[in-house]
Structures are given as structure tokens and as C-alpha cells.
């Protein structure tokens, strides 16, 4: 009988791309790694026994594999990641997860991506993977500078909601925008971020009459 394949390997860090003082993306060579936009990986650091899960930030066809990380100053893992240098080794396991676009719906459905903070990661991957996608991103952050890689999205497709300053199109939580906005009946909603945001956004969408099957959730790690 054939032994099961263990899908794990070490990757050399190519680049640590600083996006804000606290947030960075980690770029790795893609090698033969195959995934579907929206999936996540488990990331470990060579010589460390812990690992964490991160959604993939790059597109399926991009030349590198990228994850988006917010450093938790008092945390154990993310400060170590932020100190990585090009050439350091990380261990990648995966990909994992069912948080993916239904490809049959790409051509004739609208997609609304609702993210808090670094929860935007799987949506960047989806947008880069499906250039023809009819989408809107609703991104909730505290301050405007946390609109990671905002310039990559068409301005009319990106709605920034800021609670800590007035630099976003919406001043307040993203649920404020959801409540006042009309969406097509067949819209596919994808939610990614902390569980409180997802709970509140789900309530708004359910109140608007959307079926739970149209709403896909990824609670952030």
C-alpha cells in the first residue's frame, strides 16, 4: 500500500513587505504550491514548535506565495515573523479550507467581500485570481492607513469604513454601511475577520432577507 503523502515543506523567505508599522506581508517562493483563492496555510518558523494559520494574500497565478500578518506586540508568533529576513526558513502546511469562490457563479453573480482588518487577505487573493469578477470590497479598519494595498482595487469597488478617523468613505463600523446599502437578491457574500464583526454583519444580512446559503464566513485566526 502506498504511504500517505505528508504535504509540508520549508520555504525561504523572499521578502518582508512593510505595509504599516504593525502590518506586513511575507513573500515566499511559490514553488509547486497549488491552492484555491480563499484558502489558508499553516505557517511555522524553523526551530520553533508553534505554528499559526494565515489566509493566502496572493493570487493563484502570482509568482509568489504571500500572507498578510498584523504584529501583535505582546504575542508569541507574529513578532517572530516580523523579524524574519530574506533567506530565513519557514514551514508551510496546507492549503486548507473551503472558503472559496464557486467558479460556476463567477460569470453571472455579484460578489460582496466584507472584511475587518487583515481579514481582507483572502479577498485580495480572489480578486487577483478572477480578474473578471464583479465584486465590491467593504473593508472595516480603525485608521485609513490600514487599507492594505488599496490602490490595487478599482476605487468604485472598494469601500473603506474607518472608526478611528474620518479618512474612509464611511466613518463608523462596516455594519453601518451594510445597513444602508441595497444589494442584488442573488449576491454572494463573503465575510472574513473577527467573530464579532461576522456575527453583527450576519445579523444585518439576515435582516435584509438574504439566505444563509448565500453568506460564506471565515472566522479569523
Amino acid at each position: 500500500m502506498q504511504a500517505i503523502k505528508i504535504d509540508e515543506s520549508f520555504y525561504k523567505v523572499k521578502e518582508v513587505r512593510r505595509l504599516t508599522d504593525e502590518t506586513f506581508s511575507l513573500r515566499l517562493p511559490k514553488k509547486q504550491f497549488k491552492f484555491k483563492a480563499g484558502q489558508h496555510i499553516s505557517l511555522g518558523i524553523q526551530g520553533d514548535y508553534q505554528s499559526r494559520e494565515y489566509s493566502i494574500y496572493s493570487g493563484e497565478q502570482d509568482e509568489h506565495l504571500e500572507v498578510l500578518v498584523k504584529e501583535v506586540k505582546e504575542g508569541y508568533f507574529s513578532p517572530k515573523l516580523s523579524h524574519l529576513k530574506p533567506g530565513d526558513l519557514v514551514e508551510v502546511n496546507g492549503p486548507f479550507g473551503k472558503f472559496r469562490i464557486d467558479e460556476k457563479k463567477v460569470a453571472d453573480h455579484k460578489f460582496v467581500f466584507i472584511a475587518s482588518g487583515t481579514g481582507i487577505a483572502p479577498f485580495r487573493s480572489m480578486v487577483r485570481t478572477y480578474p473578471e469578477l464583479d465584486y465590491q470590497i467593504i473593508h472595516g479598519v480603525r485608521y485609513g492607513h490600514e487599507a492594505y494595498d488599496k490602490d490595487e482595487y478599482a476605487p468604485e469597488r472598494h469601500v473603506l469604513c474607518t472608526t478611528g478617523d474620518k479618512s474612509g468613505q464611511v466613518h463608523g463600523r462596516l455594519t453601518k454601511y451594510l445597513k444602508k446599502t441595497k444589494f442584488d437578491k442573488t449576491t454572494q457574500f463573503y465575510l472574513c475577520g473577527n467573530s464579532n464583526m461576522i456575527f453583527d454583519a450576519l445579523e444585518v444580512l439576515k435582516d435584509k432577507g438574504f439566505d444563509r446559503d448565500q453568506i460564506h464566513c471565515e472566522v479569523y485566526f
Binding site: E53, S195, R212, V219
Partner: protein, 434 residues
Amino acid sequence: MSLEKRKIAFKTLGCRLNQYETDALVSDFDQAGYEVVDFKDAADVVVVNTCTVTNQSDQKSRNIISQAARNNQGSMVVVTGCMANNYKEKLEGQDKITYVVDNKRKASIRQLVDAHFNGEILHPSNLDGDVFQFSTVDKSLHTRSSIKIQDGCDNFCTFCIIPKVRGRAVSRPLPEIIENVKHTLANGFKELVITGVNIGRYEWEDKRFEDVVEAILDIPGDFRVRISSLEPDGFGDRFLDLFKHPKLAPHLHLCLQSGSDKVLLRMRRMYAYKRFESIVECFRVVWPDFNFTTDLIVGFPGEDEDDFQQSLDAVNQFGFSHVHAFKYSVRKGTRAERMEEQVPEKVKTSRSAQLRDQSEAMRKSYLNRFIGQKQTVLIEKIDEQGWASGYGEHYVPVEFKVDGISKNTFHKVRITKLKGENESLTLVGELELI
């Protein structure tokens, strides 16, 4: 093997999958000529198949390992199972343990033990790694045998250490499953339990979980099939239709974990309460007596009184006949370890007691409905007074008086009363004369 048989003892902690894997190892060693002895008897080899799902499981596993080493000084102690994955280096550093074998290589333990007795010391990492390589279970162990169809889990629920210790989800090829089922039936088993870590996510080529169940049900023979623990997502009408098959037992252990949507999201569960409710309703419309049992976690970080009340309400609403209630305990390396709002131990204990009372009341109420009805019981044991005991198709415990019939046979029993208290509640009946 020397003329005198080597003695081997086993101890298993934790889930049904672990129990199955031990059963398979027992069969493997038995067929190879080892004498399988009770854990409390002296043995040349002791295998401890550990669990790490809660702090309590870790503690129990540690105690059993110490007991195994203490009672069998100079013997070989093999530690395997999820704790062996989670604390590999720590365990390897303990003199009382001879070998630490991870889950992936568990099926090859006999290879390791045989080599050891032949003077060849293998490192467990050199053993074959295949989570489906286990021998077919021999009929002498139980009347019910598990069929392993899947291993590992990719769900990453925030409380759960299992993806780290069982690895990513892998599904056993369907032809191998069918072959295993045929061998198991040929060994005399009358009841099969479809088992794995997250069996609802079975995926091999174009085959899904429903295809596996259907293929097993289609195998000719006098047997019945149960489905072990299942997540309440990813199945639809076709799954429901499978239960129209007379061989498939009307019982599901459907893991709810919490009655609160807020807590379910924090747990990163893939369903909402309504989804669970709709599944139960679909089944109970067709089969009002369908038996649902569940797991509930008490005191998950952030669980307030309202959230807990929703779990209590769920026990009432769904009429579970059994609730496996876990007090939440921090698992190192999980997301929930880093969550704020950890619930004090005292509160968890109190909620756990309330939940136990509630679930025992529901169990009594559920079992009561069978009085006056018939169950097809597979006899597991017959005591010296001639009382047979076993489970009916609804996975309800039944006792009845017998004369001249043997274990591992099906019998129609008319239920007459309920006896005992709490977890020892049992239906009592009379053999139906044909």
C-alpha cells in the same frame, strides 16, 4: 517468536477512532502469535494509546503511562496516540518509555516490537507511515467493529488540537473500505460503525460521504451500520434518504458544541444554530423517534449566561438522548488559548452540573417513549442469570431474559419498562416470539 508466547497488554484512552486502532493492533499481535493479556496483568510489552483532547485526557494518559511502567518494570512501554504527537519530545525524554510512536505510524507498531525482540532497535520515525494500514479487527474483541474511512481534520476549530495531532484530512480509497468491510463481516461482525475524525468531509476521487455509506449498505449480509460522530454541515437530502435503508441505524451523534451562534463563531464552527435545527427537524418529521446525541462544550472563552442558557435550551429543544459535555480546557497552540474572557473554573463546573442534570432528564424522557415498542437488539453480553444486554437499532441500551440463544445475534424485543438512574438508565424488555 520464542516457544513461550510474549505477552502484550493494551490501554486505550479517548475516542472511538482510538479504540478501533487499538482493536486492530490487538488483532495484528494476536495473529502474529503474541498473547494478549489484560492491562492489569504482567506483560512483556504494554501499548498505551493516548488522548490529548482536553487537559483531563493528558492527565489520564500520563497516569496510565506511569502505571504501565510501574507494573511492568523492565518491560517495553510503547506510547502512541494523540498525546504522542502533541508532546513527542517530552515523552521521548522519559526513561520509562521505550518507544513513542506517532499516529501516522501507529499501524506499524508490531513491526517495531518484532524488531526489538529480534535485537534490532528501530527508530519509530523509520516505520511505514500510513493511517489506513490497520489490520481487520478480529471478532473476539467486540460485537461491533469500526470501519475507518477517513483521518485528520482541516477545520481548525479554535478550541481543537486535533488538526495538529491527527494531521490534515485524508480519505481512504473506497475500494479499500469495501474490502475492509467484507473482511470484517467475514470475521462475524453484525454491526459496523463508520469512523474517522471528520467523516462528513470524506473526499476520494468523485466519491463523497454519502457514496461510502451507500456502498457499505449495498453489501449483502445480515448486519447493520451506524455512523459515528458527524459535523452538522455538508450534507443534504441524499443523506437523509440513506436512512430509509433498513440496515442503517436511526441514530446520529451530531456535534453541536454550543447553542449560541456567537460562541459557534468564536469556536470557528462551520454552521449556525438554525442549520442544526433544520437537520434535526428534517429527520424527526420522517422519523419522530430518531435518536440524536451530541457534544457540548461548557465555558468556552466569552460564553456568558445567555450563551449558556441557549445550550441548555438546545438540549430541551432537540431532546438529545445523551450529551457528552466537556468543560472547556485550554489546549496549547490553539487559537482559543490566546482568547480573552476565559471563563473561571468554578463557573464551568457549575454550568457543567446544570447541563448534566438537563441532559439526564432528556435521556429519561427519550428512553421512556420506547416502552411498549419493539427494538431489534444485538446481544453483546449474557450474564450468569441469563440476562442478555445490548443495543437496539436506535442505540438505546436494552436488557432481556434469554434462554438458549447466543451473543452476537439479533433479536426482536418488546420494551416493557425503564430501570436505573441517569447514565445507567436501561430499557428492559421481553423477547418477542416469532
